[in-house]
Symmetry: C2
Subunit: 309 residues, 2 copies
Amino acid sequence: MSAPEKFSGVLTPVITPFTADLTPDAERLIRQCKWMLLHNVGLAVFGTNSEANSLSTDEKIELMDRLVEGGIDPARMMPGTGCCALSDSVKLTEHAVKLGCGGTLMLPPFYYKGVSDDGLYANFSEIIQKVGDANLRIYLYHIPPISNVPLSLGLIERLIKEYPDTVVGVKDSGGVMENTLAMLKAGWDDFRVFAGAETFLLENMRNGGAGCISATANVNPAAIHNLYANWQSDDADALQAGLDTVRDIFQNFPMIPALKAAAAIYGDDADWCRVRPPLVALDEAQMAGLTQALHGIDFAMPGLKEAAE
Amino acid sequence: MSAPEKFSGVLTPVITPFTADLTPDAERLIRQCKWMLLHNVGLAVFGTNSEANSLSTDEKIELMDRLVEGGIDPARMMPGTGCCALSDSVKLTEHAVKLGCGGTLMLPPFYYKGVSDDGLYANFSEIIQKVGDANLRIYLYHIPPISNVPLSLGLIERLIKEYPDTVVGVKDSGGVMENTLAMLKAGWDDFRVFAGAETFLLENMRNGGAGCISATANVNPAAIHNLYANWQSDDADALQAGLDTVRDIFQNFPMIPALKAAAAIYGDDADWCRVRPPLVALDEAQMAGLTQALHGIDFAMPGLKEAAE
């Protein structure tokens, strides 16, 4: 197996479909992944918006296997493999590397709060050493609004210095562009900085960023990739404004249920609405509101319905 | 298997020992549990202070099995079985009930923040229905300072009304006595309210509480149980003050590493100091500070060293 190339471009935390008894639905997930790849969007499966932390380690391993068996190129996959338990993180990460995944997106352990950089460093370092595979590529996942466990610039730099071939990038979902800019200006050699939402895609690209890993790329993949591919063009600001219009609509609703609702509406497949507790599907009024708002901007998810057939 | 009796008294989230490669050490855990039971302290294994969320589901299942094989009475066990993933919560809870555990202490799923009571209700309800065992007894675990996902009085009441024989108690680790008092005064029939620390034990008992589930019962079990047994005595306030003196010392240090350090010092067993990342063991200066502070109050853990031999 050859060493993975570093990621760049647009990826999405692919939404995870469930059957009626709330079991992960591998077949629907394969179809969604294929539709993503068709629009040049990479697969950050098991991200926050994938309800990854509502899935067990065994469920994630089985889904990864099914995706690869289903014809998904593992080089395009950056599964989330950072768990609360060191043993889970090692097991999942090992499996992802063995499958040939291009990288893994790694949350810090997020139960204990106020932990030290030494403790977080030890966590990532132990994972890297226990996995012990030269093909491991880690993209750190900074998302303090949800994890409540931030990754400081000092911690990231320490990891890069110790493991320069392994710790190769970050997803910054902190929502604070100054932090992203500080990473871009830190002088870390070919370190891939992804914005956590397309909201910051253009600014990230103009400052040397690698792209974005965004929830709404689940529903608006082509347009987001289009800005990535054309960020140096004259109409880049207009393209960014177009993306923002779509994102604003989704942000008016609980994000994960709204993404799934859009997949249900535009894929004509109501089963997509299911979420695992503690999340709750959109209610009727929310569903109507989302439908109307998207209709108002002539939103479309071209080819989704066909992909589901 | 007969229906479990409801818990009362003092329980502790038993600290979890690790071997040099950070594997859970079942033998040391069995010894610690036996020392707890010797002092009338029940076993809330896999609590916050057990580093439960640094253990995988499979590791917890194996430890539970080893404890019971090692002679620990499962009726005295209230393992933590609430995980982020519904599938993990169901698997762990099912196993605990099959083993004959007296109850389970259940965190809400704690990754997603700002979730609704409907979503949390659905989580607990799904677990209860999927486990589907009349011997299941759930003690809800309210610990917003760490989980960041509070359990509202309305949610608890809804669960009690729907599942009166299953949802039978709560551990309130919010640190706000007014909330504990509100639970005690809610009129929930024989609902067992445990204080989350012995700090609130006397006040909890005076208001109809069931006892406490406390980290420091790992190191100070006899004295804490003594207050529980004698809360109506004339010297109850003095007993409470004595407990507070010990607790204050531990609260000056990172709690979990300090509890393990005490087990190491008084059990003459340095291996107890190990923690899993993201936690970090006490450094030399902290270790010296803790030793001195405990020496200053003539602290002891009688029989611990002998129990380890």
